[in-house]
Structure formats: C-alpha cells, structure tokens
Symmetry: C2
Subunit: 252 residues, 2 copies
C-alpha cells in the first residue's frame, strides 16, 4: 500500500430500497468508515443512501466519484432483477457491461459447471476494465472501476472482503481518537469546550455527544486527530477542565 | 393532516462527524423512514450523512429542499460549539439566526431562571420564521422552516417528538409491505421473480434480500405497494411459484 501525505477522503453510496424504507438497519457505514480509518488512514466524508433506480445510481456515482478520492458502493451486485448496480455503473462510465473472465471462472469453480446457471453467471458481469475484489465467503467478487469500489450489501460478506481492498488504496494518515466521558450535561461545559476547540483548531477535532446511562445524562467528549502529541495534550487539558469544574470522569 | 393524491417524497440529512467516523451507529434513518411511511404515507427516497461543516450543511439543505417535498435533518441543535445546524440553515435560507420567543420561554420554564445559562439559551436560537416541533422529553424544541424540519440526533428524544411532526405534513398513500421468506438461494428464483416484477410493474415493488439463519442461506422476498389488492394478488402468485418449485416458505 502506497502512502500519501495529504488527507484521503472517501464517500459511501448505499444502494438499496430496503435500507431507505427502514426495513433493514444499515450496518455497513460504521464498519467501512472505521475499517478505512484504522487500516488505511482514509476518512469517510459523506454517505448517501439511494434506491435501486438506474438514473439515481448513475448520477450519484459520477457526482461522488468527482468529489472524493474513493467511492465505496454497497448492495445491488447479486443475481436478481433488483440488482442493478453493476450495469448502472457501466453506463455511468460509458463502458461495456460484460462477463469478466476471471470472475466467471471463480464462480464456475465455486458452483460447479452443472449448477452454474444464467442467474449465477450474471454475478460475473461487470463494467469492462474492472479489477476484482475477491470474496472469501461466498465467491461472487466485488470490483473496482476508476475510483469506485463495489461491494455487496450483506454485512458479513462485505466484512470478509475488506482485507482484499487494501491493494487498491493509497494510504493516508490514521486518525486516532480518545473519548472522555463526563458525568455532566453539555451546557455546563459548552464554553470551555469551545475555547479548547479554538486552541486546537485544525489540530484536534472535538465533538460532544450526550448519552444516557443508568437513567442519568452524561456527555462523551470525543477528541480526534492524526497527531498523537496534540491529542494527548488536548486530552490532558480536557481532564484539567473537568477537575477544575468538579466533574467526575466516568472512564478514567 | 391534509391528504395529497400524489406520492410525497422526503429526504433525511444526518449531520454529525460521529456517524461518519463510525463511532456512532445511526438508528434514526430506519425509525424516521418507517414512521413516516406508516403514519403519514411519506416515503424517504434519499439519505445523506455529512460532517458538521457549515458550507456542506448549507449546500445539502438547499439541494435536498429543492428535490424533495420534505427534508428531515437530525443532529447539531444542542448547546455546544459543534452544534451548528440551526445557524447554518438560517444562512442557507438567508434569514436571521435569532432567539425564538416561544422556544425561549419553554426552555426558561424547563430549566428555571437561575439555571438558564447562555449555552442553554443557544438552544432557543433558530432561523427567523421557524415553527416549533415540541420536545416532550428534554424540552429543547426542533423546528420547521420552509420544507425543512430539524430534529435532534439522540434517537430516544427524536422518537418522543415524532407525534408533534404530524401537523406540519401533508399525508400521502401509505405503502404496505409483505415479506415472504423462502428457504432457497436467490439464483434459484431470479427468473421467476423478474417475471413477477414485470407483471406487477409500477404496482408492486419486489425486492429480494438474502439472509442467514441457523447457518443456512434463505431469501426474504419483500413486496411493497400502496394498493392492498395488488399486494395480495402478487403475494398469492409468489407463493404459487414457491409451491411449484418445491421451496419451503419459512414464515407461513
């Protein structure tokens, strides 16, 4: 994996009526985002969830592909009529939608010649010129074309394929984070947090997230930075603020 | 609630670095989407997740506001420095960002005059001309300006506010769904599903979603329609297909 000096930014495009309708709870955004940061130093800066409609897939793939270093799509690469991601992306990039020979032979070996029917063969069709993302759990590969990487929607299969993505990605700086959980309410520390954020502007990103635990409101203050020294310094100063204001730190 | 004849479409805009980074699992999309369909006959046709960055909030609010009947935002309306949704939306619509008197008096009553500090007062600031979405659990109201409705990010609070949204929404046709879970793999029924979809084109939307249960692959075939008669007919024909192909239906 090559390493870039600048920040590498990605978008995720979730393709699927089942997520939009609320029937299926998406689990892929948090996995991909976390995995990309930890393993590749790539940050996800936008996510879109859209229906299985060709013109919407085309528009969003092209739009995100221009705006970000990488676009990861999930869903719509299976064998049924509602799986239209691959053909739509071929149209987006104006290339043929055709059988990928390597994918074909992988699937033929997996199913056996007898059971390799036309529906299964559909899973070897992709935009011409695609590179494969191998799938160790259910064989049907994902693919990469230009800066767009297409993955399946089933979370367990997607997870199993993640290690096979690395060779296609240029590495950025990994963002490290610390969470300091305070037994207080946001409005009691808002001024101090703003001052701390201004002090560490462009060095540490400070987020504040209320949560409930055992019936009490608490605040998770999350510090994120690509620089370990700034992060530690910021964490130290945050803990000093908590001490001065007599706020109990819940995760010392 | 008024009722419209045509389809009412909405977008959800999730504003928050914590969701993008993978730290927080979003739960609001599935709730809002399901709630809007069941209670208001409104379908969510696009979701975007973006960071707490003013120009991105402005761009996406205006873009989605033009494309959809309603836009629901979540997150960024609390008291801390990273809560910039309200001020950004005021800038998007070129109106003043000012104290809403009704919100101010609600919050003053809730906290009591002594504890109503400047940070808490911030939660009463919103775009001029906003209408309130009352919050029965933690007082701080959401608001509606033009066709954009701003809600908090904490799922339990958001849920408690949902009933107070209804008066602002024009009702569309509720989409009903049936799920028929088949003990088979997608590629075994792909041809028949496509034929069934073509038969019920623009009447019933058919989706096919593989899932794992007790170590076996199965397929959930989901039928969605605003018309109960078509839905029942389609379900009957799907079950006939399963019977003819000797596929066991798991949820008879």
């Amino acid at each position: 994996m090559k390493k870039a000096k600048k920040k590498i930014k990605a978008a995720i495009l979730i393709i699927g009526n089942e997520v939009l309708s609320g029937r299926t709870q998406d689990l892929n955004v948090s996995f991909i985002s976390h995995w990309l940061n930890i393993n590749c130093g790539i940050s996800v800066d936008e996510v879109r969830i859209i229906p299985d409609i060709e013109k919407k897939i085309i528009f969003n793939v092209l739009d995100l592909s221009k705006k970000f270093n990488y676009v990861f799509t999930t869903g719509g690469i299976g064998p049924t009529h509602d799986d239209i991601t691959s053909v739509s992306i071929a149209k987006a990039f104006k290339v043929k939608y055709e059988i990928n020979k390597k994918a074909y032979s992988i699937l033929e070996r997996y199913y056996g010649k007898d059971k390799f029917n036309d529906e299964r063969k559909k899973m070897s069709k992709m935009p011409a010129g695609s590179s494969l993302v191998l799938n160790p759990s259910s064989a049907a590969p994902g693919f990469k074309i230009k800066n767009v990487i297409c993955l399946p929607g089933v979370p367990s299969i997607l997870k199993s394929m993640a290690p096979n993505l690395k060779k296609y990605l240029v590495k950025g700086s990994v963002v490290i984070s610390r969470s300091v959980n305070l037994n207080t309410v946001e409005s009691y520390i808002a001024i101090e947090l703003e001052a701390l954020q201004n002090k560490f502007l462009n060095k540490v990103e400070i987020g504040s997230y209320p949560f409930f635990k055992l019936g009490r409101v608490s605040v998770a203050v999350v510090l994120r930075s690509a620089n370990r020294t700034y992060l530690k310094l910021c964490e130290k100063q945050l803990k000093k603020i908590a001490k001065d204001k007599k706020i109990i730190i819940l995760n010392k």
